[in-house]
């Protein structure tokens, strides 16, 4: 399907195509996706690690593109691990397109990734943590309470069979979804609009996540009024917004990320020492 895009360009570059081998490899690697959580960019290392077979296949012979791809996939990342492969599949399809199409807007890869991360995680969390885990634990516990040693194993089986099935099939479904979508988009020439749409989706979701996932837990009390409540009374979550805006400014001024990181930690500890936090 992707062949269409390149026949127009009439450039005789060899088409790069991902095969089941790479996709399967990403699936295996995705099992370790959430093992290196860090506070700064959460699951970014696991993401880059898992996607590596795809990147190697597509950019293995092009150092410059590889550099760009590695940087792009070390950005903030977090999606419910049990369904993470659907995003790996879609991203793989976009990367494949990018490797074959010179005019592809690489920013759109991260825009789509970010845009889908939040919504997909919301679905994944409610399905796996909220539903399957509860059922599995309920059945496992009831058996264990009756003295069957099989109880805990039943729990693990009931949770992990759906987990691995969903990871495996979503990998290929995601990829198929991505390629089908991209080729359609390419044909009708509305790629620019899709990028814009993904940007809107991504930014709105980030805006919501700044409000819900960032906390500046000041506990200053003034005249028996909590300062936090007063500020939230003006605009809810104003402090997280200010903090994010401040960090954004620093990033724009090319302040190194390490310094910003150190600043936040020192700010936290000093703040706690003088009783702000």
């Amino acid at each position: 399907m992707i062949m269409n895009s390149n026949t127009n360009n009439a450039v005789a570059v060899k088409e790069k195509k991902l095969t089941d081998k790479e996709l399967k490899s990403v699936f295996y690697r995705s099992i370790a996706y959430n093992s290196s959580f860090n506070y700064e960019r959460q699951l970014n290392l696991g993401w880059a690690f898992s996607l590596m077979p795809v990147l190697r296949k597509l950019y293995g012979d092009d150092k410059e593109k590889m550099k760009k791809a590695l940087q792009r996939h070390l950005e903030f990342n977090n999606i419910t691990p049990f369904i993470c492969t659907v995003l790996f599949g879609i991203t793989s399809a976009m990367e494949e397109q990018n490797a074959n199409d010179e005019n592809f807007d690489t920013d759109s890869i991260n825009a789509v990734k970010v845009g889908l991360m939040g919504p997909l995680s919301a679905i994944g969390d409610s399905l796996f943590f909220g539903t399957i885990r509860v059922i599995a634990a309920g059945l496992g516990c009831s058996l264990a309470l009756k003295g069957y040693i099989f109880g805990p194993f039943l729990y693990l089986l009931l949770f992990n069979i759906p987990n691995f099935l969903s990871r495996y099939f979503l990998m290929f479904e995601g990829y198929r979804l991505g390629t089908g979508f991209l080729s359609k988009v390419e044909e009708s020439g509305i790629m620019d609009k899709i990028f814009k749409g993904a940007g809107i989706l991504g930014l709105m979701v980030i805006g919501a996540m700044v409000a819900t996932n960032v906390s500046v837990p000041i506990k200053v009390v003034y005249d028996q009024m909590s300062l936090q409540d007063t500020i939230n009374g003006i605009v809810p979550n104003l402090l997280p917004l200010c903090l994010t805006a401040f960090i954004y400014r620093m990033l724009k001024k090319d302040v190194k990320v390490v310094y910003i990181l150190a600043f936040i930690i020192l700010f936290g500890i000093l703040g706690a020492a003088i009783g702000i936090f």
């Binding site: 880059a48 989706l201 954004y248 990033l251 930690i265």
Partner: protein, 179 residues
């Protein structure tokens, strides 16, 4: 930890939990430190390798970062179990309170760095208002992220349709200090 104490001391569930609680607190402190500093360090090593285009080293950082938590944690918990809960409690009392509170405050603020980096990647003058729309809906209406994503999809579709009629061309990457 509770399970191990329940088996070795035969203290029952409540007793075992009480014994293991200081260890859990101590382990949490270590976890915070590793997640912030040690793993942060590996993230930045990975950034440096990405700049050089070294894919093998970037992947290796993930493995090291994983081990950097699992191995020390296994050792710490093993030692804690050996010396017992009360000893750990005594050590814990010596750690200044503000360090614990500060680290927990910092871990609440750190995601802002990740989000700011994402914003820097996507934002343009034209798109900046959408960030604030998302932020304001989340704050004022308490709609969960999934709901906001659905609204965002609708808005994106509306904007795309409108732009199709106007035959406007989207020019990306024209971001300025509009934030």
């Amino acid at each position: 930890m509770g399970t191990a104490f329940a088996i070795t001391t035969g203290a029952g569930i409540e007793g075992a939990v009480a014994l293991s609680l200081p260890i859990a607190t101590f382990a949490l402190l270590i976890k915070q430190l590793i997640y912030t500093f040690v793993r942060g360090y590996f993230v930045h090593r990975a950034d440096a390798y990405a700049l050089k285009g070294d894919d093998k080293k970037v992947a290796a950082m993930h493995v090291w970062s994983t081990l950097a938590y699992c191995v020390p944690m296994a050792i710490v918990v093993g030692i804690c179990f050996y010396v017992g809960g009360p000893v750990v409690q005594a050590i814990l009392d010596k750690v200044p309170k503000f360090i614990m509170a500060g680290l927990s405050a910092a871990s609440g603020m750190l995601p802002a760095l990740g989000f700011a980096m994402l914003i820097k990647m996507i934002v343009s003058k034209e798109l900046a208002p959408y960030f604030f729309i998302g932020f304001l809906i989340a704050g004022y209406l308490n709609i969960p992220v999934l709901g906001i994503a659905c609204i965002a999809i609708c808005i994106a579709i509306l904007v795309i349709i409108k732009n199709g009629k106007d035959k406007m061309k989207y020019v990306g990457g024209a971001d300025d200090n509009e934030f």
